[in-house]
């Protein structure tokens, strides 16, 4: 028996596999394809104070080994999230992580104050890294002092584990990760999407209506690994790794680079049962390599001998 469990602050995950915000709806949409109680946890779609319709169409496009999106945080709003979406998860045996975003620093705190009493929410992930909105999002997550202010505001509202989701679109992710840690975050997750763009050469139009969007999928995996490694070097709190994970071997790379847990995003669209297959793959990997606790490989990157 392999012990697949890991800890994110006070939260214990039965295995290190979570599904990423915006790629798994509000948790039940993929029920026909997998048993969500097998997951370490699910991160629900970013929720904002008011419902949002999202950006103009087209808002997705495919690029080599990746996809661009500019959904624009389309969501039902906190009211409906509490009354209609969370109850659907009442009897599910997995962790539920609510992902939140605000237009202002105060809005982050306000939305967390509305959510934090709900018994079904096991942790909160703060999205300061969405590239597809005018206010909040990326503009917050690229600035260490604004990130710190957002995290402090949220920390004052809740005793639940707070995870800060970071953007790769910065010069030094370690600086932002440290700002989050110093302001009371229990973990950071990285990465959100990488800013990207595509052009149709026949029409000369951008592939996305908003021109620039966020790149996800296997194309960004090396970027994500580097950011996870840098963040893990910079902070003592756990790092949750994501970006381009398509199978268990990718997940193992993230763990070795320093991630305590991983999230699957774009994979869910392609293989809805992918996250569960990934857990099985992690277990087989541990058996093959005689690893009794998966936590033992976290940050176990070896030095290459100098030649």
């Amino acid at each position: 028996m392999v012990d697949l469990s890991v800890k994110i602050g006070s939260l214990t995950l039965k295995n290190p596999v979570l599904t990423a915000s915006g790629t798994f709806g509000y948790g039940r949409e993929y029920d026909p394809y997998l048993d969500i109680s097998q997951l370490g946890g699910i991160v629900t779609k970013t929720v904002t104070l008011e419902p949002r319709q999202g950006n103009p169409m087209p808002r997705i496009a495919e690029t080599p080994a990746g996809m661009l999106n500019s959904i624009g945080l389309s969501n039902v709003g906190v009211e409906k999230y509490l009354n209609e979406k969370l109850p659907l998860l009442a009897d599910v045996d997995t962790n539920v992580i609510a992902n939140v975003a605000g237009n202002t620093i105060d809005e982050y705190a306000e939305i967390v104050s509305r959510l934090q009493h709900h018994p079904r929410i096991d942790a909160i992930e703060i999205n300061v890294s969405c590239p597809n909105v005018e206010k909040g999002g990326l503009a917050f997550g690229t600035d260490a002092s604004v990130t710190a202010a957002v995290v402090k505001g949220v920390r004052n509202q809740t005793g639940k584990p707070v995870i800060v989701k970071l953007t790769p679109n910065v010069t030094d992710i370690g600086v932002i990760a440290r700002a989050a840690e110093d302001s009371g975050a229990d973990a950071v997750s990285c990465i959100n999407t990488v800013q990207g763009m595509g052009v149709n050469i026949h029409t000369r139009q951008p592939l996305l209506a908003r021109i620039i969007g966020g790149l996800s999928g296997p194309a960004i995996k090396p970027i994500a690994l580097a950011k996870v490694y840098q963040a893990a070097q910079a902070v003592r709190i756990p790092v949750i790794g994501l970006g381009g994970i398509m199978g268990w071997a990718d997940a193992v790379e993230f763990l070795i680079a320093g991630a305590t847990a991983v999230q699957t995003g774009t994979l869910n669209f392609i293989e809805p049962a992918g996250p569960v297959q990934l857990i099985q793959g992690l277990e087989s990997y541990c058996i093959t390599h005689n690893i009794s606790r998966i936590a033992d490989i976290i940050g176990s990157l070896e030095k290459r001998p100098v030649k």
């Binding site: 993929y30 996809m67 999928g217 296997p218 398509m246 669209f269």
Partner: protein
């Protein structure tokens, strides 16, 4: 519902760019209805990455097979074209809400443009099974993409063709045929309209049918990632201001409810 590996049992070329493929998909053939689609992973590699949506062209429940009709437009469809009988693709489906066939329609007028011809075969099979009178108005740029005319006519379908290359039927657009049809059937009772084709055609039809008083169901296409309402990529705006997802709430919509200009 599961994703399933489905073996290709046949694939033939209609033209050098349009292909008809037959797949062993017993589960899907049993569950599906006209207007629904399958979401296909054409390879297990990373490029093309996402699944590709295709309308069900025909379902053969007793054989446990479905057919798709597709045009090669990019890397996904090019990969599909190069597959041979015996090769396997992975399907999710059937997805989406198909056409409402229970509406009290005596005479169905089906408008198909370009690859909108794909779902129309299955739709007409179902309409004929329900003893409806069927008129098919079918337009393509290239007349060679019109096929099976004799079969439709043998089964009692009134077929009117428009081609832009003047190779078959009326030289022009399918919307010309629609205008003529509506002029001839002004005031007729029991009509029901079905529309499949590219967005510019659907917009034009929306305008033309404004004066009619019966239901027009249109099948829409949008770029898709998940195909099941999760990624929120395939939004369509309705005239009420509400946003719906083409994959989950459609792809079939009441044509009058669609707000094409946002």
């Amino acid at each position: 519902m599961q994703t399933s590996d489905c073996k290709i049992t046949a694939q033939d070329a209609i033209t050098e760019s349009v292909f008809r493929i037959r797949l062993s998909a017993p589960g899907i053939s049993k569950l599906c209805s006209p207007g629904q689609f399958v979401h296909m992973r054409v390879s297990t590699g990373l490029d093309p990455l996402l699944r590709r949506p295709f309308s069900i062209h025909r379902a053969h429940e007793s054989a446990g097979e479905i057919e798709l009709l597709y045009r090669v437009v990019g890397s996904g469809t090019a990969t599909l074209r190069d597959l041979k009988p015996g090769d396997v693709v992975n399907l999710m489906g059937p997805l989406g809400n198909g056409f409402d066939l229970e509406k009290p329609v005596d005479h169905a007028v089906v408008v198909a443009g370009g690859m909108g011809g794909a779902p129309v075969f299955y739709l007409i099979d179902a309409l004929l099974k329900r003893n409806k009178r069927v008129t098919l108005l079918w337009g393509t740029r290239d007349g060679r993409e019109i096929f099976d005319e004799a079969d439709f006519e043998a089964r009692g379908v009134a077929l009117k063709i428009a081609t832009e290359d003047a190779s078959k039927g009326h030289n022009g657009l399918v919307t010309d045929l629609l205008k003529t049809f509506l002029a001839q059937h002004a005031g007729s009772a029991g009509l029901g309209g079905y529309v499949c084709g590219p967005e510019p055609m659907i917009r034009a039809v929306q305008d033309i049918v404004r004066s009619t008083d019966f239901l027009w169901q249109a099948s829409l296409e949008e770029q898709m990632a998940c195909g099941v309402g999760v990624c929120l990529g395939c939004a369509v705006k309705l005239k009420t201001g509400e946003i719906q997802m083409v994959c989950k709430d459609g792809p079939v919509f009441d044509i009058r409810e669609i707000a094409f200009n946002g």
